[in-house]
Symmetry: C2
Subunit: 108 residues, 2 copies
DNA sequence: TGTATATATTAGCATATGTTCATATAATAG
DNA sequence: CTATTATATGAACATATGCTAATATATACA
């Protein structure tokens, strides 16, 4: 339950900094409608940047910016084919958590 | 998987607005270190506002503000005893998701 | 080389967010 | 009532965030 315990200052049962940062950053990244829509689109299969933009009615720049955030957190990866980059999800666990949340929220 | 489908404009497999808002708002709320620390503290049992502030080394005002956010999203509830309010978590599913994320993140 | 297409990047702006300080409210004891 | 304790609230501030417009980069191809 608690790993990476450098002998720093860890209070009774408190989360260590590393875990706290990673968890909050991950949730913060999931806490935006645009990024959720992108990840939701990538549930089934990979999509190019332009296709994502068209399907979700977003600007190419917007999609690119958000994909960079998602890529920094290793939530998506990409594959190149010519000038086209095909993005797909890259963290089964986070995707699973997102699916749970969507499922929970959509049941009213 | 998709409920509350008012016959509005729902594209192929896209999330409806209600679900999208609820999910993103929930994740956004979980995306802050202070709120995670508070919720993590409430994993086991209820705590008063002042106790939370002392244990987590936060100002009373900060804790109160964040608890209000959490309460608005029904993530916590409280019980009054005199002038003291004892807060506890109020959404098993979200707590479970938070636990999963912490567990996943702490395993390095 | 030059052109076309796909994507990335930078800067700017408006809005959102989290904390602090000061103050207000609520409940209890005397 | 007054005083005390616990909590909530409002304003102000600094910082973070997300989008857009413009531009840059990269790959492919003639």
């Amino acid at each position: 339950m608690m790993a990476h315990k450098e002998p720093e200052e860890i209070k009774k049962g408190e989360l260590d900094k590393y875990t706290l940062n990673l968890v909050s950053q991950t949730f913060k990244t999931l806490g935006d409608p645009t990024r959720i829509r992108i990840l939701h689109l990538l549930f089934q299969k990979e999509y190019s940047v332009n296709t994502i933009a068209k399907v979700l009615d977003l600007q190419q720049s917007t999609v690119s910016h958000q994909l960079r955030l998602l890529k920094n957190l290793r939530l998506v990866k990409y594959r190149r084919e010519g000038t086209t980059l095909y993005y797909s999800h890259d963290d089964e666990h986070v995707i699973d958590i997102l699916k749970q949340a969507i499922d929970h929220a959509s049941h009213h």
